[in-house]
Amino acid sequence: FAYFYGSPRWERGSSMTLTYAFSPWNMIDYISLPEIRGVFRRSFSKWASVIPVNFTEIEDYGSANIKIGFFRGDHGDGEPFDGVLGVLAHAFSPENGRFHLDEAETWAVDIGKVKSKVAVDLESVATHEIGHILGLAHSSVKEAVMYPSLRPRSRKADLKLDDVQGIQALYGSNPNFRYSSLLESENSSNKA
């Protein structure tokens, strides 16, 4: 695992709640908003289960800690998106909170239901970018969610040991978290 320079993190004291909202202007419409909200709720909860941080969705985009939107090409932050595949998304380190996904991708909530060869699993990318929002940089561990690349039609949405160790070193552990459950799930996915 790796951090951004200076190991930036969100500072809110012991019980931290971060808010997130979806852009009212920059969304996709071929996946319903309730489905998108469900994907992000699951992704945020994966991180919330290992660190003492809660995430709450709010309506007011302007006041949210984390601002999520789908953008195409040059969208004003100096990191233009590049069309089909290539760069899928990017997010900024703490306490910036901007979370951008490339609108040109074929996003999928359930890869099995989409026939496209270039379909990208939304939950995998969302879980990865939330790691950046919290302060993790890219990892060299191939299995880790924070590994930089994701093949089309592949899924990598469950946190691995490397991800958990990295984020807990920044925020401490969620008191209800048990390593044993993580190791069990890792062993079963390794076997698979």
Binding site: Y5, A91, K115, K117, V120, P148, L150, G166
Partner: protein, 114 residues
């Protein structure tokens, strides 16, 4: 708009996907000159492996030089690939993979070994 539950059929050919053209650099190694390699160097510069050239117009050349070779080695180490210093098929396959736009290394990132 699609009604939930309906199978979404979108077939998009990935041959024009971003970075697909990098396949022409397969097995390129130090000393070679391949047209368009400056574009691959921009890719390496964008993700933190290569600094912007300090020549007059800050532009990359198409020559696979020593600086680019060390950038390829750094990339291979970061991605846990066999360190060959060449654009072998494993390395090229990873380069062309869709990915996150955040830089892998460079001044903004502090790697912590565990």
């Amino acid at each position: 708009r699609f009604t939930p539950g309906q199978v979404t059929v979108i077939t998009t050919d990935d041959h024009n996907a971003t970075w697909h053209g990098f396949t022409r650099f397969k097995d390129a190694e130090k000393g070679s000159r391949v047209s368009g390699m400056s574009e691959l160097k921009k890719y390496f510069q964008r993700f933190g492996y290569l600094s912007i050239p300090d020549n007059q117009n800050c532009s990359f050349t198409d020559v696979f030089d020593a600086q680019f070779e060390s950038a390829v080695v750094l990339y291979q180490k970061k991605f846990g690939l066999p360190v060959t210093g060449k654009l072998d098929s494993d390395t090229l396959s990873e380069i062309m993979s869709p990915r996150c736009g955040v830089s892998d290394t460079g001044p903004k990132v502090r790697a912590t070994k565990h």
